[in-house]
């Protein structure tokens, strides 16, 4: 089980969280005149990164808030967690971890 550091509550077990998929996918503006292909890309296409992946989690059985995380999908090691709205931290943080 993963140990996830909620930016509000600290480290908690994975069971308290719900996974929310890839992060930083902006919903197109309502007035945007999108083609079906662009809608499909927004709804369905994912980077599915093998490596450092930015993703959303929600601390459902804790503070209830959403958070973002950088996790290496080849090791499942978390590199950083950060609040929603903050910019994605650089992936080089991985090297600073002990």
């Amino acid at each position: 089980m993963l140990l996830i550091k909620c930016p509000y509550c600290g480290e908690r077990p994975e069971l308290e969280f719900v996974y929310g998929g890839e992060a930083h996918i902006a919903r197109p503006a309502p007035e945007a005149d999108l083609t079906p292909g662009q809608w499909a890309a927004f709804l369905y296409a994912r980077t599915n990164t093998r490596g450092v992946h930015a993703e959303r989690w929600r601390h459902t059985r804790g503070c209830g808030r959403f958070l973002n995380a950088l996790r290496d999908t080849t090791t499942d090691q978390f590199i950083a967690t950060y609040k929603v709205g903050e910019a994605r931290p650089p992936a080089e943080l991985a090297q600073q971890e002990p």
């Binding site: 719900v18 079906p36 499909a40 093998r50 992946h53 999908t73």
Partner: protein
């Protein structure tokens, strides 16, 4: 190819078993091929076999980054069934099931296909209504499936607990008698051996690191850990790693890769005569010929390429199985492992041409690709050879996500995902 028969077995018995040869060659990659299949699992090897046997293409290579039988083909729980809800799925999976029935004969390789029946349990009124809908839909499509009362289910599978006072009471079950299991890695070995004998090069320990395109945008060659290989056509069959390869060609797919866990118990005497599945509690269990109980759990919550998952996911499944089969409570688990499965939003696969000329993809099988191996391979070979889909896989395009023609087995809950 050294044909297997009772006679060769007898001869080798007298000769001290010293005459057996390697079942396929380990050739150096040639500089160019008509078709290169990326991914040496059952689907990829099968596609190469059908390209050679049905479409007359012998200048074919299968590139496998690991070894044959080491990926999801050797990691699944070997269940075979075709009781899917929608017409498109029923046609595809039943095509596979019909090929399973004659596969050992056509490959001259015992894939140990055992149509022992697949029983799907209903624990709630809602489950019962959904499964009955499946039974009727399947029968309209010519796929066998029947409804059993709890007593009939217990008669078919005596170890089942049908008491009313358990956490997941059994209200009935849908039974597909033609479904069952097969020996999973034998499928990969059988296809590898048969394809090799038709001239297909099977190249293990060869990872694809890039795909080059020519001035018109069509595929031209592959960069691999064993050098540059030119190819007129490329078929990608890389399961959980499909996105990694396709991202390198600039094709983004609606896929996410998740760990899916399975485990086996210590071996015991025959106790479970069929496959038992429960979509409601994410559990499926069967007994291998060695006597081990083969148990599949659900996927982990997050995308990952680690081939392992969290203990609480398999614990959840084991708790449910011990409720259904109280006799299993004292068994010990011997091994637990994970495979990386590529999941589409509608839980149906993609077997299609891509926007890149000469590039074809067979992916998105999610948690249930093993059962489809021969059918998937057969229609994928057709798609590559003729540059157009077989009628059976015509609906399984990438464009269905753009056009809204989903084959929504996720909503139909035909699979435990």
């Amino acid at each position: 190819m050294q044909l297997f028969s009772a006679l060769t077995l007898l001869k080798e018995g007298f000769a001290g078993q010293r005459g057996w040869r390697a079942q396929w060659r380990s050739p150096e990659p040639k500089s160019s091929y008509d078709v290169v299949i990326v991914g040496g699992g059952g689907h990829g090897l099968g596609a190469a076999y059908y390209l050679a046997s049905e479409h007359g293409l012998a200048n074919v290579a299968v590139l496998e980054k690991g070894w044959i039988g080491g990926g999801n083909t050797g990691r699944n729980t070997t269940i075979i069934r075709s009781n899917y809800l929608f017409d498109e799925s029923a046609a595809l999976y039943d095509h596979a099931l019909k090929l399973w029935e004659g596969l050992a004969q056509s490959l001259n390789y015992n894939v140990m296909f055992s149509p022992r029946g697949v029983m799907m349990l209903a624990h709630t009124v809602h489950d019962e209504q959904i499964l009955k809908r499946h039974v009727h839909a399947n029968r309209c499509n010519g796929v066998d499936n029947e409804w059993l009362t709890p007593e009939e289910a217990k008669a078919f599978c005596p170890a089942l607990n049908i008491e009313h006072n358990i956490r997941y009471p059994v209200l009935g079950a849908a039974l597909q008698r033609r479904g069952g299991t097969a020996r999973h890695d034998a499928v990969a070995w059988g296809y590898a051996r048969a394809a090799d004998s038709l001239g297909v090069d099977i190249i293990e320990n060869c990872e694809v690191t890039g795909i080059n395109r020519d001035a018109e945008g069509a595929v031209e060659s592959l960069q691999t850990s064993r050098g540059l290989i030119r190819a007129r056509k490329i078929g990608v069959c890389a399961a959980g790693n499909t996105s990694v390869i396709m991202n390198r060609v600039g094709v983004r797919l609606p896929l996410e890769s998740f760990p899916l866990q399975a485990l086996v118990s210590e071996p015991l005497k025959p106790v479970l005569p069929c496959v038992v599945m429960s979509n409601g509690i994410h559990a499926y269990v069967s007994q291998s010929d060695k006597g081990e109980l083969v148990i599949g759990a659900g996927t982990d919550a997050y995308t990952s390429y680690t081939q392992r998952g969290a203990l609480h996911v398999s614990t959840h499944t084991l708790e449910a199985i011990c409720e259904l089969f109280p006799t299993f409570r004292r068994l010990q688990v011997l091994r637990n492992w994970g495979g990386i499965v590529d999941v589409t939003p509608d839980r149906s696969p993609i077997i299609a041409k891509t926007g890149v000329p000469g590039l074809y993809v067979n992916c998105g099988w999610g948690t249930g690709g093993f059962k489809a191996t021969p059918g998937s391979a057969h229609v994928f070979a057709w798609t590559i050879a003729r540059d157009e889909p077989h009628p059976i896989n015509a609906a399984f395009t990438i464009e269905r996500f753009r056009d809204g023609h989903l084959i929504d087995e996720a909503a139909a809950a035909a699979v435990a995902h």
